[in-house]
Subunit: 300 residues, 2 copies
Amino acid sequence: MTDFNKRFDEYVSLINGAADKYVAEEAFEGRESSGLSEMLKAMAYSLKNGGKRIRPMLTLEFCRLCGGDYCKALPFALGAEMIHTYSLIHDDLPCMDDDDMRRGKPSSHKVFGEANALLAGDALLTLAFETVLSAEGVSFEAKAKAGLELAKAAGCSGMIAGQVMDLANEGKAAPLEDIKETDRLKTGEMIRVSCVMGCIAAGADKEKIKVAEIYSENIGLAFQIVDDILDVTSDAETLGKPIGSDSENEKSTYVSLLGLEKSAEYAEKLTESAKEALNIFGGEGEFLARLADMLASRKN
Amino acid sequence: MTDFNKRFDEYVSLINGAADKYVAEEAFEGRESSGLSEMLKAMAYSLKNGGKRIRPMLTLEFCRLCGGDYCKALPFALGAEMIHTYSLIHDDLPCMDDDDMRRGKPSSHKVFGEANALLAGDALLTLAFETVLSAEGVSFEAKAKAGLELAKAAGCSGMIAGQVMDLANEGKAAPLEDIKETDRLKTGEMIRVSCVMGCIAAGADKEKIKVAEIYSENIGLAFQIVDDILDVTSDAETLGKPIGSDSENEKSTYVSLLGLEKSAEYAEKLTESAKEALNIFGGEGEFLARLADMLASRKN
């Protein structure tokens, strides 16, 4: 097993363990009165139905890279993951994207009903701040700063602005700059703050925070472009859809605007820029470089 | 004009001024891209459609009483009001209480659509933490502690637990203890944390925080009981409904369980307990004593 895989697995294991802990039944002891347990189950269902755990992993690794104890950054990492999770629950609701499935399983409101899904999302959003602000062994300054950065990234000047713009883009052609701005806000801001919170946990200086921002902006955009490419290539393989069109809702994508080849080149260029920014960390930056490559070359 | 009225009006004016500022168009400059402005308008619509502003007023007055500069506690006060506001927007959604009206005006989703109402609620919840954690002239310790208390009070062990229990109580008879616990969580926790955050802003000791908790628990419960009484007496006056039943959804209330007279006595007793707790503040506690009386004797 390579060093990369070993560290990757260790992080995933730490994150999943912490996720289990924060929504364990014991965490809500004495609150299993009528109705409540369904909502708590809904919180756990989505938080444990883990995706790639990339955001919290970035928090842990940037903390380590900046000389901090990454275990102490776990609450910050989980805060980012809780916000990401709540946004997916609310995004799937009938009044939003109306998605019945999420990560191969029925979405929250299909299992627990709309009211529980709505409240489970609200509760995870709130729990994110509780988790960040109750981190142990971290200074009040670091907690207050991390919580503030998280709120800015998740709020109406960040992720939520991106969600609104994404809804507005449905079914219409949009120029490349609009798509990039939507993605920067909708997914990029949470990737950025995940990296930045790791730096804050380690008490890093502005120079390192700047590196975290450059790295995250590049991998964030590359991630979206690869998403679009995979949408098209897997559609082409499995559904026989014409390449380069998201014909379902006629939404503009990187592939529809740039074509498949140029999109792939663009993602590659962004990934290289992300890796270059890591130079100040020397050989220690290897894990994040490998992670950027892994995200760029992923097949799903 | 009495001292009470003068201070009351000054607080309302400060709170409304700050509310305007946090959701002013300038606060979101450069974000008026497609779709976004409707959601931002939805945030402003609900935050400015002010209720009594009791929660933020409690924050300011407890800060003053504990020797702090209450202007510095304004961000904490607004944080509580934003959480309260978001909870009303989400409560009114079709999948929750499905209310078309709020404070005499169409509810958020009737004006802006469900997606904008959902996201405006999410955005106000997030902005609450941004606001608390970016308070100027307040220590990192106070900001982190206030934010943590706010998250605990608003989350799945506080207000949201109460919302879930309230939905579960719909249409069925519940014992008095269940009703009290639901109210303690659904409305009481946010009233409690509003008081406590004022103390934290002033760097108050545990003794004063304990007083804030006793005062707020008593006025919080009294407030709910008076609500129930007003529901019945105004129904009786305007709709000719039988007194003592909330026949619309057969939900248990203080009045249906205790009767009108005993409910009024209970609210009065709680109000007296709230006022007694203020003794350690001497004559300075007068404003909060008057406020408790005002809430208990209100007619709407």
